[in-house]
Every structure is written in C-alpha cells, then in structure tokens.
C-alpha cells in the first residue's frame, strides 16, 4: 500500500480553520527572518476522505485483540473493555490542563488518590506513585528508590542488583540506567531461583533483588519467603516486577511475599489497551519505610480536599512531566471498579486454568522443559521440531499467522531454547483455546509431514517474511522523494 506522502498532491487539504479574527501581521515583522525557515516542512497534502481511507486501510493491516486470539506471553493481551474507553473520554478528563488550580481538578485528584488506595490493597503495599509512563520507567523509579534508601542510611557500598537469568531484558537495563552493576543469579532445574547461587551472591554490596513472580517461565517461586528473608538479612531490598501480576490477583500479594517495592503494568494486568506499543502506565508501590522516596508530587488529602504534595525532601525527584499517564489511569480505575474483589480473583483463576489447559493439551506434541503446573502462562520449546524436521520456533509462529492467531512470545525467556511463551489470559473461552490447541497440533504434524509448508509460512498475510537483515544493515528510516 502507498505511503501518505505518495498520495499527496499540492492544493488538497483535509482541515478547516476559522479565519484569523485579530489583526494580522507578516510573520517576519514579528520574528526576525534569521529565525524563520525558508520552506515549510513537506507534510502531506490530501483530502479528508483520502486521509480517512489511508488510516482505515492501514488499520486493516494490523491484528488486534478484537481481531482474534493474542496469546503473547508476558504481555497479558486481555480484552480492553469498551466502557473504559467511553469513561476515559469524558470532557472532564480529556479536557483538563495539568497546571490548572487544584480546586478545579478535584475529581482527577480524587480518582488518582483512590486508585493509589486500591492498587495498594491489591498488592499489599502502603503507597503508590502513578507517575511512571510504562513498566520500564516503573522499574527505573523502583531502582532509584533502592539507591536513595541505602544512601540515605549512609550505606554506600551497595552497588549491585541481582537479576535472575530468566528476567525480562528491561530489568538489567533499568538497573544499569539507575547506576547499578548487574549480577545474574542462575535458575535451577525446576526453573526457579537457585538458592545456593543466590546465597553465594549475598553480601554487604547487594542493594536489591529484582524478581518477577510468577517468573517468565510462568512458575511461582515457592521459596519466595526464604528469598526475601535472605535478601533482607543481607541488607538488600526486594523488587517485584509486576509483569505477571495477572496470575495472583486476589490470590497472593507481593507485599505479603516480602517485597518492598512493586511495579504494575496497567496495560497488562488492568486491561488498558496496549495501543500498538503504548501508552502504558507503570505505577510503583512501596512499603511505608520507602514512601518518602516516591517521586513528586504524590496526591494527598487534607480534610475533604485533595492536593498535590511536592514537599517531600527525600523524594527521588520527577521522572516524567505532570503526574503520569492520566488517561490510562482512568481506564484501569474503571476496570478495577467493574471487577470488584471477586472479579479480580476470578481473573487469576481463569488465567491460570486456561494456561494449564493449553499446557496439558500440547505437551505431547511440543517439548515442555518444566513439566509442572504453570501459572498464567506456559513455556514450550520447539526443539523437537527443530532437531527432527528443521522447523524452528520462528517457522511455527509464522505458520500460526495463516490461521488468524497472533503467535506466542518467541525466543524468550532466554534460558529456554526455541522458546514459545503462551499466555491465553482469562478472557478467552474454552472454544477459542480448543481451536488454538488444534491448530498447534496440526502445525506439529505439518512440521513432520510437510516441513516446507511451515518453513515458508505465512501464506495468507498481506506480505510474507521480511528481510530484516538488510533493514538493519542499510537502514531506510524515512520516506524520501
């Protein structure tokens, strides 16, 4: 399909503005011409219909949760409730300016205050900041808090953050960005933190431990209390990466597992749309002893008035302008209110049931590296297909496209060869799962009987496999005439 620039034609337009009703002066009489550009930026010139069709056609070349099953592991591609879009679009939310006087935005502040309270209860923490724009920024905030906590206690030797080898790539990247050295702890044969290696890492240079629980293999670390104890005894703090929090809603709380800091991904666990890769929101919750380090401002309440509290001398500072991705917060708030306590628990139960159902129904066809009950996602390996038929996990993923499914997360976690990480979420019906299972089984058979069919997939998409190597070697990153 054409680019918008390729259908552009001088003289067409897709906007209308009222006539300027104040006295007009030539631009260069108001601004010295040395500051002015000679030529306008070459933006498209199209009619309104052209533009509408262009974006509609583009959207048709995309697969969303509404289009079909989207079992992308670790991303929790659950249904995005439509009423949340409706409430987030109220004028009283979309048309308020971040710097309006506090008394003119009491509703917004109240919503944030209440969301802080509900997230605290759900995770067993004491207070949340809603400022981080995404999970990765939440991690960064958490790590900055860890750093300042130790420094504030004049404990200056703590330079290391421990991260499991199964962790998301953002964990070590965030730790580095916060100025820490990253130490990796191995997983044991059960896919859990290896207690002996963890023990050997303990020392007075440990600042904290970042853990996703359930981890990226979809396994709940049964030693979690011993881990917390060990890290706390060594003087470190426990950080909970909430990427997989969908599995534990109403079942167990990070705060009760010994975590000091938690980030949640509202775009995963709390149903806000992923938007093709953002906006998300990554609120960070802490236990009381860390509250004073949270970013400024926090929303507080005095009498029946809500206000933005900037007077927090030990705060790490700001990581984002204003107060967070407010529009995302509204959607998550609506979701929690729609679910209630029982509903949230039902989310976890169904998410875990659905994942175990898939795991059980596929484990005779695909290698299951760790054969035990999983939580909200299961991780298979494509090595049987690769070794026997030369069909890789990538091929299997591409073949799934022909059946209208979004493939699982592939080649992650790194500790599983040819990994396929499947997260069905609680929203899907048994019928959808059965259909997916049957297609996965069919692909396993095709890999044996007709491997070329799988290796040359996809066959039904608008384009076939793209030459990614050339894209990286000779980057074309913008259109030129």
């Amino acid at each position: 399909m054409q680019l918008i620039f390729e259908i552009s034609k001088k003289g067409r337009k897709a906007y209308s503005l009222p006539k300027c009703d104040v006295p007009e002066a030539p631009v260069d009489s108001l601004i010295d011409s040395k500051f002015l550009r000679k030529e306008s930026p070459d933006l498209p010139e199209v009619s309104e219909l052209d533009a509408v069709r262009h974006f509609t056609r583009m959207s048709q070349r995309n697969h969303g949760v509404n289009s079909g099953f989207y079992p992308l592991g670790s991303c929790t591609m659950k249904y995005n409730p439509k009423v949340n879009e409706a409430v987030a679009r109220f004028d009283g939310f979309t048309k308020i300016h971040p710097y309006q006087e506090e008394e003119t935005v009491q509703g917004a502040l109240k919503l944030m205050y209440e969301l802080d309270g509900m997230l605290s209860e759900i995770t067993g923490m004491d207070q949340f900041t809603l400022q981080p724009a995404a999970g990765a920024q939440g991690e960064l905030v958490g790590l900055m808090i860890i750093k300042d906590y130790h420094l504030n206690r004049k404990d200056e030797k703590r330079t290391k953050i421990i991260v499991p080898d199964s962790a998301h790539g953002t964990n070590p990247a965030s730790a580095a960005l916060a100025g820490f050295d990253v130490v990796e702890v191995k997983s044991n044969e059960k896919g859990l933190v290896d207690m002996e290696s963890l023990k050997s890492l303990m020392g007075d240079d440990i600042a904290g431990f970042m853990l996703t629980n359930p981890n990226t293999l979809g396994l709940f670390d049964e030693n979690i209390l011993q881990i917390s104890e060990m890290v706390h005894e060594a003087g470190g703090l426990m950080y909970y990466d909430g990427a997989n929090a969908n599995a534990i809603l109403g079942i167990s709380r990070p705060g009760d597992m010994g975590f000091d800091i938690v980030h949640l991904n509202l775009h995963k666990t709390f149903s806000t749309p992923h938007g093709g890769g953002g906006p998300g929101a990554g609120p960070v919750g802490v236990k009381k002893h860390l509250s004073e380090f949270l970013p400024v401002p926090v929303v507080s309440k005095m009498g029946d008035k809500y206000y933005l509290d900037y007077d927090r001398p030990l705060s790490i500072g700001k990581v984002k302008s204003a107060y967070g991705n407010f529009g995302v917060l509204v959607r998550a708030y609506a979701y929690i209110l729609s679910m209630g306590p029982e509903g949230l628990r039902e989310v976890a139960e169904n998410a875990v049931l659905n994942a175990n159902y898939i795991q059980n129904k596929l484990k005779d066809k695909y290698f299951l590296p760790i054969d035990t009950e999983c939580m909200h996602e299961c991780v298979f390996s494509g090595i049987w297909q690769k070794e026997k038929n030369g069909v890789t996990t990538l091929d299997i993923a591409k073949r799934l496209l022909d059946f209208g499914f979004h493939p699982p997360t592939i080649y992650f976690p790194l500790i599983v060869e040819e990994a396929m990480m499947i997260e069905p979420t609680e929203c899907e019906t048994k019928e959808t799962l059965d259909e997916f299972i049957s297609v996965m089984r069919q692909i396993a058979e095709e890999a044996e009987n007709n491997p070329e069919l799988v290796k040359s997939a996809p066959h039904t998409t608008v384009i076939s496999r793209l030459d990614e190597a050339t894209a990286a070697r000779k980057p074309i990153l913008r259109y030129t005439k």
């Binding site: 583009m58 209390l225 407010f326």
Partner: protein, 463 residues
C-alpha cells in the same frame, strides 16, 4: 490448602454465571477443563503458592459495579473538574489547547491500532509499522534531522534521554542546560542524571534568552551536552545558531527541545546545527488529559543513529519484493543488549504517535502553517491589549511565538481566581519556578482563541 473464603470449594465462584462479563469460561467449562487435564479443582493448580503467602481475606476494594453504575459514578467524578470546553483556556506552559480535526478521534478507535501490541510480527502489524514510518518521516521533516525514533514517553523524558546519549557518545560527564528550559524537563533531567553521576549546570538568561556569556564561561572539556528549548519556557525564540557554534567549537553535542507547531515557521533544529532534537508532541492532536498520555519525539543526526534510544522502524522488502516495514536497529535495545542497552525503554507511545501522525496528515503542510501563524498573531494581539490595560508590564523584549510573560500588578493567584469566576482558566504563575519573577504571568494563546474570548480575558484581567 485454603485460599478461598469457603473451604474446599472448587473456586470462589459458586454461582451459575460468571462474576464478570470479561471472562470467557462458564463454570461448566471450568469443570470440564479441570477434568480433562486431571485436576480436581482450581486450588490444585495453585499448589506452588505456599500457604504462608496465600491471601486469606477478600480484597478490601469496592464491590463490582455494573456498567450503568460505573458510568454514572465516573461521570460524576469527571464533573468535579472544570474543563477547557466550559472554561476558556489561556494556560500553556508545555501543554496546549489546540484544535484537533474530528476524524482523528474516530480513527484512533480503530481497534486494530489500539488493541494491538508492539509490532513483533511484522506480517500482521504493517498498519502500526507503516504509521510509525510515516511518523518518523514527519518528525524528520519538522526537525530537519534525518533519523527519528518511534516516540518516547514525553518531552521531558526524551530530553533526559538525549542528555544521557550525549554523555555516552562524547564520554563526558557534564551537561549544560538553559534555565529557560521547561522546569519539569529540568527536574526530570536532574533525576536521570543523578544516578549516572552526570553533573548538570544551568545557564543564566538575559532578556529571556540564554546568556551566551554564561555559556562561554561554563562550557569546558567535560561538557557533553548543551541543551536549550526553542521557543523556550517563556515563549521566546532563542538564538540557537550562536549557541550551536559555541557548543560545537567545544565538541559538545547540542540538543534543542522544540514545540512541533512552531516548526512549521521557525528554522528547524537541524538547520540550526542541533545534533539532537526532542520535544513534547502533545500539541499534535493529543488531548490535554491532565498531563498524559503524551508523546516525546526525538530525532538525531545520521552519526548518532546507533546511539539513539527507543524503537525504530525501517523499510525493507519481503521475499516477493513487496515493500514492508519492520522494527530495526534492535541490537541497541534492552531485550538483546540487556544491561548494555542504550536505554531501558521498551515500547514507545505508539497510539499517541499515531494521533500525531494523523494530526500532521489532516492539518498537512498548509494547515500546520496556518495554525502557527494564528498562534503568532493572536498571542501578539493579546500581549499588546494586555499591556494597554496598564495593569501588566512587559518583561522581555525578545521575539516570542505563541506564549509570553508579563508582570501582573496584582498577585497571579488572585488574578486567576477572578478570571475563573468569569469562566476563564488564566495563565501560569511563573513565580513558582522563577521566584525572582514576582507576579510573572505566562500566557498561551492558541489558534482556538477567538478575538471575543481574548477581549473578554483582557477586560477581566485588566479590571
């Protein structure tokens, strides 16, 4: 093991229907599924969760609301806010009440865009990928720099990332930032810099513009980056070309944070010598939303391409020679480089960037220019009229774009209180961030303001 209120139940839910409409399985489905995979109840799937960490109570959050109740309750909360439809807005300071053409709000709701995730599977994500490629092209056009990323969290964090990139590239540890840069962007920079042992120093201003003398006296062999905003926080146009000369003579990198609307008439950062352009993209078709979600844009020179943080989309071909788009240059990113990545950033603000792309498409080449010219004319008209009242005096004489500072005779808080009673959201109290600018008043006038609204504002403010 007990983790339900009711001991030994198969699940907490014993009713015949699901508790919520967002869950697929019926109770019957669940029982059948459990049976088929050989479990007696849902609890047995959770046996790896030790008893000691099981939650033994119901979460203390409000009981579930039906859709009707939910809408009613949230609507009433939203009404506790005074919005810019009911109140005429002269507040800017980095977030602006611009006009957005109506097709955008409908198109942005195309589910294929908003319910999808990062385009990991290009064959079924060409929509998002092409949109980002078009976005990158438009940002490159606006900024005059060849390489744009797919967008970042917001203008402030994009600026902080630009500083980190400059330090990484030059192997230097000091950043000079103009005190005329948005206060929140500076605060975010301080936060990011602190943990990387980067020193941040501020440059004084004269007549509302960066003091070149101060720049010359502070720049040295440790200076990785010089960062300015144009138009700056006071709305004033900086002499970026002079700053660029000084920065580059010292082999420092220059970052310019720009207002994208202004770039349809002002010289682009690239043309003036910037190595990195960043900025807040909210003005491009994104609602005010109480401060977010917005998008930060970032564009760099060819030379810095592989140092740039964030997602990037590139053009390539499929095996049949058809054009297609993919995420590219991923070896910079966290999921491959882990702790050695250029940033920890994982996604972009894709939907906001799409909204910006739509805005730039609908407004187009002529529309954006017209918006900029109306802002320019209307802000100058407002400025002149305010001065005429005698209640406001000029502070700076340097040229401005759509925003300006005046000194009010009465305290800004009182003034704004009075305006609010007249359905006007007044300007920004600049004294909050610049305590020496007592009664300083920062006013933004966009193309949306009519002469009548401006005249009312001036009359009430001047009373």
């Amino acid at each position: 093991m007990i983790f339900c209120q009711q001991k030994n139940t198969k699940s907490c839910v014993n009713k015949g229907v699901n508790m919520t409409r967002y869950i697929g399985n019926t109770n019957e489905d669940r029982e059948q599924m459990l049976r088929e995979i050989g479990y007696e109840n849902i609890s047995s799937l959770f046996k790896s969760v030790p008893d000691s960490v099981l939650l033994r109570k119901k979460l203390d959050i409000p009981e579930a609301l039906s859709e009707m109740e939910l809408v009613k309750s949230i609507k009433s909360t939203s009404k506790e806010n005074k919005n810019t439809d009911e109140y005429v807005c002269f507040l800017g300071a980095g977030a602006y009440d611009h006009y957005t053409p109506s097709p955008i709000d409908q198109l942005i709701l195309r589910q294929e865009f908003y319910t999808s995730y990062t385009p990991y599977q290009p064959e079924i994500s060409q929509g998002t990928l092409q949109a980002i490629f078009e976005y990158q092209t438009m940002i490159s056009e606006l900024t005059g720099l060849p390489v744009s990323n797919a967008s970042m969290y917001d203008g402030a964090s994009a600026l902080a990332e630009a500083a980190l990139m400059s330090c990484e590239t030059t192997k230097r540890k000091e950043v000079l930032i103009a005190s005329t840069v948005h206060p929140e962007s500076r605060q975010v920079l301080y936060t990011y810099a602190k943990y990387r042992n980067i020193t941040v120093k501020e440059l004084a201003y004269e007549n509302g513009q960066v003091s070149l003398d101060d720049l010359k006296s502070k720049i040295n062999k440790d200076t990785a980056a010089v960062i300015v905003q144009n138009p700056n926080f006071f709305g004033i146009i900086e002499d970026v070309e002079l700053i660029s000369e000084i920065a580059h003579e010292n082999k420092s990198l220059l970052t310019v944070s720009a207002d994208p609307i202004s770039l349809s008439i002002l010289k682009s950062p690239g043309e003036m010598g910037a190595d990195i352009a960043v900025g807040e993209g909210q003005s491009l078709g994104n609602p005010l939303n109480f401060g977010g979600p917005y998008l930060g844009f970032m564009a760099v020179t060819e030379k810095l391409m592989r140092k740039m943080p964030g997602r990037v989309v590139g053009q390539t071909t499929d095996k049949d020679g058809r054009r297609g788009f993919v995420l590219t240059l991923q070896t910079r990113e966290q999921h491959i480089r882990r702790e050695r990545a250029t940033s920890n950033i994982c996604t972009n603000q894709a939907l906001n960037a799409l909204q910006a792309t739509m805005y730039l498409t609908f407004m187009g080449k002529e529309g954006l220019r017209e918006v900029a010219e109306q802002c320019l004319n209307k802000s100058h008209y407002t400025y002149n009229e305010l001065i005429k009242t005698g209640k406001f005096r000029p502070l700076f004489t340097a040229p401005f774009f759509k925003e300006f500072v005046v000194i009010s005779e009465e305290p800004v808080s009182l003034l704004n209180e009075k305006l609010l009673k007249n359905n006007i959201i007044g300007g920004y109290k600049i004294e909050k961030d610049y305590p020496h600018l007592k009664n300083g008043y920062l006013i933004a006038v966009t193309e949306k303001r009519t002469r009548e609204e401006i005249d009312t504002f001036v009359r009430k403010a001047g009373e």
